[in-house]
């Protein structure tokens, strides 16, 4: 009843092609943006900002990136952790070498570097498909982590092999390093994520996105109707890696502050992000956010309930936690294999027709 496009007349072609053609969608988006930027930082305390919202936003960005590759272009990748490491280590090297450029340009630059690396590792996708490709992308994961572990140049020969984010400022506000406060970090990350989420939505509905989806649905058929697989697949790898690289850069520089390749970027990161887009919904921008929210918040919630609520000892709680996560994942796949975004779509359809059943 409330969600209905009746009476919204479109007088121009531009209106037809708007990003959110239905008024209610637009209001919701403005509402979400308003809440994100105007209310959240003042309503929630440091703990919420640092421990929940920052990882949620950063993982959303990574999930968006992987969703572009896997959800829109159909190329299954297990190298997300490795590409996040590329972003993290390039932003580290850049922060140390060119601090005068400012933090945001450096994040964008490290995204570009990751895009180049991602394109390189995307080359086999032209010949290899499906699970063969997925396993092949593990080569990227293991090789990159090994590289960052072994080659001292990447971590400036520090004895522990760790990298630490030096403090950097934007308009005089510290955003990285231990002194940065939660609100500043939150604004930075939320701003970047909002801009690039809109960008992703736009890319996905344009010519490039349609090419990707054609390749996803059947690459031979797509090639026959004139989509160039080389361009489409490699551009998907490039754009996806750009997003993932930025996420990695923020993950290291803003959220963790210091990182070590084998722990922070191991293969479980790749799986985690893949879970996010599967649970959220493949080929959906909204799904990336929902999946990230689910998988960031749920473990924290579980841990709090078990350790604080029932007084379970933490080792046992950790074991129960992975069982519960596993069961929930299987359960989700059984109940709604197309993810949370699909549930939202169904809800919208229902609201449109309400009070009639169909």
């Amino acid at each position: 009843m409330i969600y209905r496009e009746t009476g919204q007349f479109k007088a121009h072609y531009q209106d037809d092609q708007a990003l959110f053609p239905i008024d209610q969608d637009r209001y919701v988006i403005f509402g979400v943006l308003f809440v994100t930027f105007a209310l959240v930082p003042y309503l929630l305390n440091e703990y919420w900002l640092n421990a929940i919202l920052l990882p949620f936003l950063i993982y959303s960005l990574a999930a968006l990136g992987l969703n572009i590759l896997t959800g829109y272009c159909g190329q299954l990748s297990l190298g997300t952790g490795g590409f996040m490491a590329v972003g993290a280590f390039s932003v580290y090297k850049l922060m140390v070498a060119f601090p005068e450029l400012g933090f945001i340009p450096l994040v964008l630059l490290s995204g570009l570097i990751t895009a180049a690396v991602g394109t390189l590792f995307g080359l086999p996708s032209l010949r290899i498909k499906g699970f063969y490709l997925a396993v092949a992308t593990l080569a990227a994961q293991f090789f990159l982590i090994w590289l960052f572990n072994k080659v001292g140049w990447f971590f400036n020969y520090s004895a522990s092999g760790m990298i630490n984010a030096p403090p950097m400022t934007i308009f005089g506000v510290i955003v990285t390093g231990p002194e940065a406060n939660g609100v500043a970090k939150y604004y930075l990350v939320a701003g970047i994520v909002a801009v690039f989420a809109l960008a992703a939505k736009n890319i996905a509905r344009g010519r490039i996105g349609r090419n990707w989806m054609a390749i996803r649905d059947m690459d031979i058929a797509a090639e026959l109707i004139g989509v160039r697989p080389l361009v489409a697949k490699l551009s998907a790898f490039a754009v996806s890696s750009f997003y993932v690289g930025m996420a990695g850069a923020l993950y290291f520089a803003v959220w963790l502050g210091s990182a070590e390749p084998t722990e922070a970027f191991d293969i479980n990161q790749s799986f985690l992000v893949l879970f996010m887009i599967i649970i959220g919904g493949l080929g959906s921008v909204l799904g990336s956010f929902l999946g990230a929210a689910f998988l960031v918040i749920m473990p924290i919630l579980l841990k709090n309930i078990m350790v604080d609520g029932f007084g379970t000892d933490s080792a046992l709680a950790a074991h129960i936690e992975i069982i519960v996560v596993g069961v929930l994942i299987i359960g989700f796949l059984i109940v709604e294999p197309h993810g949370l975004a699909r549930l939202w779509r169904i809800a919208k359809e229902k609201m449109r027709l309400w009070p009639f059943p169909y």
Binding site: H319, I330, L333
Partner: protein
């Protein structure tokens, strides 16, 4: 190349072959399940860990003799296969491969947590009286070969022979091949998919037990055992997802390549390259044969 270098080369190659067979043991379980149901079962490594944990647990906590413990573990693995089919696979029929793949990762989490809670997460010693140490006959000639690895290779050979007979000669084997060929056609001639899946997962569970025993005897039963799945993946893509001989030969190629690279190239680049070298090697093979060495040719129609 003088004699000593040559002997060293032989030793490295042989131990690579043996290590490769150990990878093949895990890859074999993958192949069985992929062939029969098109599921890429990521949980195979954790299944090996779970089987080994159960075996050790039965022997230590309940004091079972070896033979009884092995039978008990096989029973557990069969029960597990039945449970997986009931609770998970049955609900996911006809879903896309990626969904099934993710479900097996979820399964891996569940098994890992269960194994830890049931049997504890400390490192356990698994001693079934499998001979260990150097093989004296070759050691005298200057080549060091683990007896355990020889034993594993022998077991793998027997197992592959057994599986070949099982697939080619028995009624169930024929049904399995029919299912692998075409699910719907198999259903229409009266083969029960559910039964077949239980059987395949049981067989994969038993293969996982063998792999778990070999790896457990070699390096103790601990969490890192489940990571051998990651070692088996390059073997799998090199040999082809659908080929049992491919798993064995792929394992040998990976094993030898990895050992040779580690010994002759590793020192120049800082070592520890075995983590990714296998993947690069498999990738190089894939560029020439995208379906693996022995995989079925992928034919696509528009």
């Amino acid at each position: 190349m003088n004699m000593l270098d040559f002997l060293f080369f032989i030793e490295v190659t042989l131990s690579g072959l043996m290590a490769g067979v150990m990878y093949s043991l895990v890859a074999l379980g993958f192949v069985l399940i992929f062939k029969a149901s098109g599921i890429f079962n990521f949980a195979q490594g954790v299944m090996a860990l779970f089987a080994a944990l159960t075996l050790v647990g039965l022997m230590e906590k309940f004091g079972f003799p070896i033979w009884l413990a092995i039978i008990g573990t096989i029973a557990v693995m069969i029960a597990l296969a039945w449970l997986i089919e009931r609770v998970m696979l049955r609900q996911l029929v006809n879903q896309e491969p990626i969904i099934l793949f993710m479900a097996t990762i979820g399964l891996a989490y569940v098994l890992e947590g269960m194994g830890d809670i049931l049997w504890g997460s400390d490192v356990k010693v698994l001693d079934l009286g499998i001979p260990q140490g150097a093989w004296e006959w070759l050691y005298d000639k200057g080549v060091y070969i683990e007896k355990l690895e020889m034993f594993a290779a022998g077991t793998a050979a027997i197992m592959v022979a057994f599986l070949a007979v099982f697939f080619q000669k028995t009624r169930i084997g024929r049904a399995l091949r029919a299912v692998a060929d075409d699910h719907q056609a198999a259903l229409s001639v009266g083969i029960s998919l559910h039964t077949i899946w239980v059987i395949v997962w049981s067989v994969a569970g038993i293969v996982a037990l063998v792999a778990g025993i070999m790896w457990g005897s070699k390096s103790g039963v601990q969490f890192s055992l489940s990571l051998i799945a990651l070692k088996a993946l390059p073997v799998l893509i090199l040999g082809g997802f659908t080929s049992v001989p491919g798993a064995i030969i792929g394992g040998m190629i990976i094993g030898v390549g990895e050992k040779l690279a580690e010994v002759y190239v590793g020192p120049f680049v800082g070592g520890a390259i075995e983590n990714w070298f296998a993947y690069m090697l498999a990738l190089a093979f894939l560029l020439f044969r995208p379906q693996g060495l022995f995989g079925e040719k992928i034919i696509e129609r528009v």
